[in-house]
C-alpha cells in the first residue's frame, strides 16, 4: 500500500498530461463544422479557387478559432486550478474558492462598467455565439481588449480593496469576511449598472456564465505566460502552505516569515484568478473542484499539489469546453453553465460524503 500511495501522485500527473494531449487535438475537431467536413478541406489540393477557399476557411477555423480556444480553455483551467490550490492552502479551508478575495465581483463590475460606457454595441462581442466569435478577430478587438482590461483591473482593485478592509493578510478570518463583503457590495453595484444600462445585459450574462468562445492567440499566450509565472511562484512558496496546514502558530514557530510570504501568495492568487476571469468570464467550480479531485486520488504536499491541481483544472475545463461544443452541436452551451452544473453536483456529493457515515470528517 505504501508504495502505491507514494506513486499515485506521479501516475495522476502522467494521466493528466495524457488526457491533455488527447483533449487538445479533439478540441480542434468539435463544433458547428464537424471534423468529417474539415478534414478533407484541410488537406485539399487547392487546384481550383473553390478548393483553395475551402482550405483557407478550414485552416482558419482550426488555427484561428478552435486551437486557441481549446488551448485557452486548458490555460484558464490551469490558472483556476492553481488559484484554487493556493486559496485552499492559504485560507486553510478545503471549500475555499479562488473567487473569495472579491476578484470575481470586481471583474464583473469592471466588465459591466466598460459595457455601459461603450454602449450596447459591444454586446455582440461578449455574446460568444457562433458567428459573433469572428467579430473578435475582425473589427472589435479593441473592444475585446477593453473588456479584458476592465475585468482584470476590476479583479485587482477588488482584491486590493479586500486587503485594505482586512487590514493586511495576517488574519485569515478577517480576510474571508472582507472578501464576502466586497463581493456583495460590488455585486450590488454591478446589478445597479445593468439596471441603468439594459443594453449590456446580454453581453454581461455571457461574461457571468463564463465562456471560452472568444479566446484568441493573444489571450492564450497571456494566460500561458501568467500560468508559468504563477506556478513557479506558488511552488516556491508551497512550504508556507505546508507549514500553515499545521496551524498558524506552528508555522510561525518553524521560523517561516508568514506576513511577506502570505502577501506573495495573495498576489499569486489575484494574478492567476484575475487573468483567467478577464479572458473567460466567471467559470464556476473549476478552481474549487480541481484541488479536491487531486487530493481524493493522492495526498501530496503543496509543492506537488500546485502542479497537479493546475493540470486537473486544465483537463476539467478543456473537457467541459469540448462537451459544451459537442453536446448540442451545432449550437453550443456556455461552458460556465456546464461547469456550474457538474461542479455543483460534485460539491453536493462531497458534502454528503463528508457528513455521511463513511465521511472523512
Amino acid at each position: 500500500m505504501s508504495l502505491s500511495v507514494a506513486r499515485r501522485g506521479r501516475w495522476l500527473g502522467w494521466a493528466l498530461v495524457a488526457a491533455s494531449m488527447l483533449l487538445v487535438p479533439l478540441g480542434t475537431g468539435v463544433g458547428s463544422v464537424g471534423l468529417e467536413n474539415l478534414w478533407p478541406a484541410l488537406w485539399g489540393d487547392g487546384s481550383d479557387s473553390a478548393s483553395r477557399a475551402a482550405r483557407d476557411m478550414a485552416w482558419q477555423i482550426v488555427w484561428d478559432i478552435r486551437l486557441p480556444r481549446t488551448l485557452g480553455a486548458w490555460c484558464a483551467g490551469a490558472l483556476l486550478g492553481l488559484a484554487g490550490a493556493v486559496a485552499q492552502g492559504l485560507f486553510r479551508n478545503p471549500l475555499a474558492d479562488p473567487y473569495l478575495l472579491g476578484s470575481a465581483s470586481g471583474a464583473s463590475l469592471g466588465v459591466a462598467t466598460a459595457l455601459a460606457l461603450m454602449g450596447g454595441g459591444a454586446g455582440m462581442v461578449g455574446s460568444a455565439k457562433g458567428a459573433a466569435v469572428t467579430l473578435v478577430f475582425s473589427g472589435h478587438w479593441l473592444v475585446r481588449l477593453g473588456l479584458t482590461g476592465a475585468a482584470f483591473a476590476g479583479a485587482v482593485l477588488a482584491v486590493l480593496l479586500t486587503l485594505a478592509l482586512a487590514r493586511g493578510v495576517q488574519h485569515t478570518l478577517r480576510l474571508l469576511l472582507a472578501g464576502v463583503i466586497v463581493g456583495v457590495v460590488l455585486g450590488a453595484f454591478t446589478s445597479l449598472i445593468l439596471l441603468l444600462s439594459p443594453d449590456s445585459l446580454q453581453a454581461m450574462q455571457a461574461f457571468l456564465l463564463g465562456s471560452t468562445g472568444f479566446v484568441g492567440w493573444t489571450s492564450c499566450l497571456l494566460m500561458a505566460g501568467v500560468w508559468g509565472l504563477c506556478l513557479v511562484a506558488a511552488w516556491a512558496l508551497s512550504r508556507v502552505l505546508d507549514g500553515l496546514a499545521l496551524g498558524e502558530s506552528t508555522a510561525h514557530s518553524l521560523g517561516l516569515p508568514l506576513a511577506p510570504l502570505r502577501a506573495a501568495l495573495v498576489a499569486v492568487l489575484a494574478l492567476a484568478t484575475g487573468t483567467a476571469v478577464a479572458q473567460t468570464g466567471l467559470i464556476a467550480f473549476v478552481g474549487l473542484a480541481a484541488p479536491h479531485l487531486v487530493r481524493a486520488v493522492a495526498k501530496v504536499p503543496h509543492g506537488r499539489l500546485m502542479g497537479l491541481a493546475s493540470l486537473m483544472g486544465a483537463v476539467l475545463l478543456a473537457a467541459a469546453d469540448l462537451l459544451a461544443r459537442g453536446l448540442i452541436a451545432p449550437q453550443e452551451l456556455p461552458v460556465g453553465v456546464l461547469t456550474a452544473v457538474l461542479g455543483g453536483g460534485y460539491l453536493l456529493w462531497l458534502m454528503h460524503r463528508r457528513t455521511g457515515p463513511g465521511g472523512l470528517l
Binding site: M1, S2, V5, A6, R92, P94, A236, R239, D242, G243, A245, L246, G247, S249, T250, H252, S253, L254, G255, L256, P257, R295, K299, P301, L360, L361
Partner: protein, 272 residues
C-alpha cells in the same frame, strides 16, 4: 536548581500579555534551568498556555524573554526555530497531509529554501517517528488517525526539529496510559542528553514526575521549585483549593483527588 546565568534555557522578565482586551499574564518573572524538565500547572485560565506562547515568541508581550542567554528578539527567525521547538494545544492540522510529510515539516528550519530534504533530515524524521511509535503509519493521511495517534505524529514533528529547548502544551492529550509512560521515558532520555523540556500538563500526577514545577494562578507564578520539595507540593495543593492531596506511592509523587467538600470558612465538612 542552577544559579549560573549560562545554565538558564529560558528567562522571562516581567512579561505581561493580553488576548484581545483581557489581560492574561501579569508581570511573570521566571528562570527555567537548562537540561531539566519543568512542568507548568495551575487551574483552568491561569495563563499557562499563554505563558508558553510568550516564551516561544508566538505572541506579543511586554517585558523581555531570553532564550539561551540572548533576548528572543535578537534571534534570527530560522536560528530560533532550530533552537526552540513548540507544540501547541488543539492546533488545527490539515487532514490531507501524510504523516511522514508532517514530521518532515519539523525539518523546515534546517533546510535552505527550495532545497529537497537531505539524508540527515530523513534520518531525523525516521528517528522522531520511531520514538513516538508512529513510523508504521508514515504513509497514512493525518485525517485517518485517531486523536491519540495524531498527537503522537505531532509530537514526532516537534522532536524532528532536534531543538535544544522543547515547549509542549498538553503533549499527552488523548494519549493512552502506555503512550503516556513512553512519553515520560522519552522526556527523561532527552533531558539526560541535555535538552530542556517545558510542558504544560493538565494531569497533575504526570506533571509531578518532572524535575521542577511552576505553579500558576490568575496570570501569576505562585511558586517555582523542585517537584519533590514540600513547599512545591504545598503550593500545588493550595492552588487547587486543597481539592487534591499529594502523596508518595511506589516512590512516585501522585496527586489524589480530595473528596471532602469545603464550606465558605475553609473548614472541612463531612462528605455529602
Amino acid at each position: 536548581m542552577a544559579n549560573a546565568p549560562e545554565k538558564i534555557a529560558i528567562g522571562a522578565d516581567g512579561i505581561s500579555a493580553s488576548i484581545g482586551k483581557s489581560p492574561i499574564l501579569h508581570g511573570v518573572t521566571l528562570q527555567l534551568p537548562a537540561g531539566r524538565w519543568t512542568s507548568i500547572v495551575g487551574p483552568n485560565g491561569a495563563g499557562k498556555s499563554t505563558l508558553l506562547r510568550a516564551l516561544a515568541g508566538l505572541m506579543p508581550c511586554s517585558g523581555s524573554v531570553h532564550l539561551l542567554g540572548r533576548p528572543l528578539a535578537q534571534w534570527h527567525r530560522g536560528e530560533r526555530a532550530r533552537a526552540l521547538s513548540w507544540l501547541g494545544q488543539n492546533e488545527v492540522a490539515a487532514d490531507d497531509l501524510m504523516v511522514y510529510d508532517v514530521a518532515m515539516l519539523g525539518r523546515l528550519p534546517h533546510q535552505p529554501w527550495l532545497s529537497p530534504p537531505s539524508g540527515t533530515d530523513h534520518a531525523a524524521v525516521e528517528q522522531a517517528l520511531r520514538a513516538t511509535q508512529a513510523w508504521d503509519w508514515r504513509h497514512r493521511a493525518l485525517g485517518q488517525l485517531s486523536g491519540g495517534e495524531r498527537q503522537r505524529v505531532l509530537l514526532a514533528r516537534l522532536l524532528a526539529v532536534q531543538a535544544q529547548v522543547l515547549l509542549m502544551d498538553e503533549p499527552l492529550a488523548n494519549l493512552d496510559p502506555p503512550h503516556q509512560a513512553d512519553w515520560l521515558l522519552l522526556v527523561r532520555a532527552l533531558v539526560a542528553q541535555g535538552t530542556t523540556v517545558v510542558s504544560v500538563l493538565h494531569e497533575v500526577s504526570l506533571a509531578l514526575q518532572a524535575d521542577d514545577m511552576v505553579v500558576m494562578a490568575a496570570g501569576r507564578v505562585l511558586h517555582h521549585g523542585a517537584c519533590d520539595a514540600a513547599a512545591t507540593q504545598a503550593a500545588l495543593e493550595q492552588v487547587f483549593d486543597h481539592r487534591i492531596h499529594v502523596r508518595q506511592l511506589d516512590g512516585m509523587w501522585m496527586a489524589l483527588p480530595s473528596l471532602q467538600r469545603k464550606n465558605n470558612q475553609g473548614t472541612k465538612d463531612v462528605p455529602a
